[in-house]
Symmetry: C2
Subunit: 265 residues, 2 copies
């Protein structure tokens, strides 16, 4: 892994950075399947929206765009873009004139066999509800860390998380779609969860076919009885679930169609 | 402000530190009123408990104790001790053998006039509920950052936060005690909030007088009609509230007695 910190290769981070002290920042995980960052405009749009909701000053998206390209270096990789509220003094209060910090890093494209289908379980760790933070890809991710600690590599591919009220929200690093009564449904993310870019892409693709995805509360019983389940994230695109808590789930052909469409992006 | 990163003065932090990437860490704010860190044993006990709940390997508390003393340098200051799960590769899953990172910093003792009493308001930002994280002083602090952004310096001294269910939990950086029917009551912290060391000290002091503090759910209406209110944190000790949302609150003499007792610690 290599990183640019405020544009400097190999630099390290001030220990008083508010991203480190409080998780006071946002991130994007951007797939570069060949040479071009996928959905970069949408990633920068979400980051800009998040920055506004957290009260950050305006982002220099052109600079971020250049740094994402520079770190990707025209090769297949995953780029992670972190923006924090920069360095601060003691206390939660944000500085009046924050100097945002950028950390742009690249890692190798990991081995993922989306076609094989995901084996998924239920996480014990719940998601707290907070509408002020819901939907944002912010740096407060301890819930996901605890949830991902619940299984060893190889046992499962992903774990589904519910909120404190018992609604199913997402997997630890993917959004969820369930086919219920012949229609794709995805959890509402107005109380918690991250509104993924690939979730947006899947919804846009379905809408372009005249079949809108329904966003609403989904119970665990509905997920367990769904006729098909899909996970989406920036890296895998759409990942059909083939097994939930040890029981087989029918793999829907639409993930293949969507991924083919995605291949042209 | 000065800092030791893994024992090195002036060092900076790996951008792949999990504290920065996910808030995967814990902290303590330790008052050094003269030369000696106050309640250091209790701080290290809470940190050890938090590390265990997050699945960290065992802490070297003797090393932490030495670094707290070294950075404090025998003078009046505030020491902040951050322990993260160290550097990681991509993804939420914790490394199998994490190398914990220590960031120990000191800042000047800020001007606080606790005796004058605090002017307190109600924060709009709520606290999400999650029993897995409740009580811990972890690095996911965006809720406090947003709450503290709600007022400018000088307008208020602190803001009270409620959880998503409407229970009053704490101030942004202090615990709350309310005198209700001649008895001190403090919010239960089994769903959210930070179990402060000074909260523990106040409860211990009351117990030593044969008058246990009651821990339970507290509504906003109860706080509004309490005969007295106190805030506690590592720095100020007990801080009586003199004004809540613009209305005067009677200042109880017990904060003075407690702070006098604290002066002997």
């Amino acid at each position: 892994m290599r990183a640019l910190v405020d544009g400097q290769e190999g630099a390290r981070v001030d220990p008083f950075d508010r991203g480190l002290q409080y998780g006071d920042g946002l991130f994007e995980t951007i797939a570069v399947p060949e040479s071009k960052p996928r959905f970069l405009d949408w990633h920068l749009e979400r980051l800009t929206d998040g920055a506004s909701r957290l009260g950050f000053p305006a982002l220099d998206t052109e600079l971020l765009r250049r740094e994402v390209s520079a770190i990707g270096n025209g090769s297949r990789c995953i780029v992670k873009l972190v923006v924090t509220r920069g360095s601060g003094s003691r206390g939660y209060r944000p500085p009046q004139m924050p100097q945002l910090r950028r950390i742009v890093s690249a890692s190798d494209w990991p081995p993922v066999a989306a076609g094989a289908g995901a084996r998924v379980g239920w996480c014990r760790t719940r998601l707290g509800r907070n509408p002020d933070l819901a939907g944002l890809k912010h740096l407060n991710r301890l819930e996901q860390v605890l949830a991902r600690s619940e299984w060893e590599d190889g046992v499962l591919d992903e774990g589904l998380m519910s909120d404190e009220a018992g609604n199913v929200i997402a997997a630890t690093q993917a959004n969820l779609f369930a086919r219920i009564n012949s229609r794709w449904v995805t959890p509402r993310l107005d109380q918690c969860g991250v509104a993924g870019i690939m979730r947006r892409a899947f919804c846009a693709w379905r809408a372009s076919q005249g079949a809108a995805v329904e966003e609403r509360q989904i119970s665990r019983a509905e997920v367990e009885s769904a006729s098909a389940l899909l996970l989406t994230n920036a890296l895998v695109g759409a990942w059909p679930v083939r097994e939930l808590a040890g029981r087989p789930v029918a793999v829907d052909a639409e993930s293949t169609e969507f991924n083919a469409w995605l291949g042209g992006k």
